[in-house]
Point group: C2
Chain length 241, copies 2
Amino acid sequence: MSGTLYGVGLGPGDPDLMTLKAHRLISSARVIAYPAPDTGESFARSIAAAIIPASAREIPIVVPMRVDRFPAQDIYDKAAAEIAGVLRAGEDVVTLCEGDPFFFGSFMYLFERLSEEFPTQVVPGVTSLTACAAQLQRPLTARNDVLTIIPGPLPDVDIRAKIEEAQAVAIMKVGRHLGRLKSLLKDMGLLEQAGYVERASLPGQKVARLVDLKAETAPYFSMILIYKGDEAWTLPPSFSS
Amino acid sequence: MSGTLYGVGLGPGDPDLMTLKAHRLISSARVIAYPAPDTGESFARSIAAAIIPASAREIPIVVPMRVDRFPAQDIYDKAAAEIAGVLRAGEDVVTLCEGDPFFFGSFMYLFERLSEEFPTQVVPGVTSLTACAAQLQRPLTARNDVLTIIPGPLPDVDIRAKIEEAQAVAIMKVGRHLGRLKSLLKDMGLLEQAGYVERASLPGQKVARLVDLKAETAPYFSMILIYKGDEAWTLPPSFSS
């Protein structure tokens, strides 16, 4: 009997926003895998750090951070091979995933390599999308609005077209695109309706109206939320966390 | 000192997918509010039933279920007035919300009436969006895909236009629109790429390829997920839960 591969969503960062199921799986895990940068701490591991058993075997998947480029697939070939060895030996592997495993996450790279051979279970988590809306104190959508989620690295022309079509918009992975996105939204007359959240639910969280934001770059984990619908949801001028 | 209004996301239905924070707030609550139908059980309350203190005061917000019509706003005027009375007396009110409070939820009706006068905290929850993807065993998006979330009650012409523009699509609130949506997706050549999930994470959950689905109507809590991107994510012919 082979082990089960678990992809476990950890939520946006505050360990208190982990699900009961994630908490239980992690705190009883014997083998834990997680993405890790080549220098510094793994964000996913840091969310769960307090409940990872001291006896657990840890498999960090070291992904060099390169701006706006997707990771070399040989990293996941190697990680999948190591994890497959553990699963074949009958041991479960709990993979820690920031946010939700299937919402713009890297878990899919393991999933597409392992889920045909091994039993796989995905445990959904709170996404940064709704965590940011909670911190902005503004609903994402009303009634029958269409919500469009756009990766910030896309070209201006694509982002503009998507925003024009939508009632509610989230721009993910803002990072070094912040300055460009501010210019674009200013040009579209949407700056006043845009909210900005960085490190949602974590220490050092920042919440602001985009129009008040001086910075031109942001951390990778940052988001812009725009509401264009009929409801009068404006952000107060003094808004910040 | 007035009390705090909490909007607490409960996740998609399995109590195990509640966050630690939701669990703590509910199990220590003295006053709990939740949406309830005019006949039958409150879905939100049923998710949290096992941890609601016996001593808690309960405020059901009775919303008559009418197909495809948004609830009369006087229901929320009345509920907000009752909750305001509790908050003014210095007591916190924990409002139970299916999924996430700000993701297509009814909590916004209380929020827009009460959040200016009273301290308000929104606790995000796991949405049906990612819970359905987990059950379908298919990532929602890859890399820099745009994800569009469309309410099923919208007219065909609008839904078609949104789907044509997107790489990944979720159609929410499928309900009685199932037959119409199946015809539309067949016409667009997307039936084979569409997955269907009903009652995600709950007893009686149903997971299927849309092409294999005989039914013409579905429960309100049902979703269609479509992936049009480059990755070869197909649903196996035998797929069902």
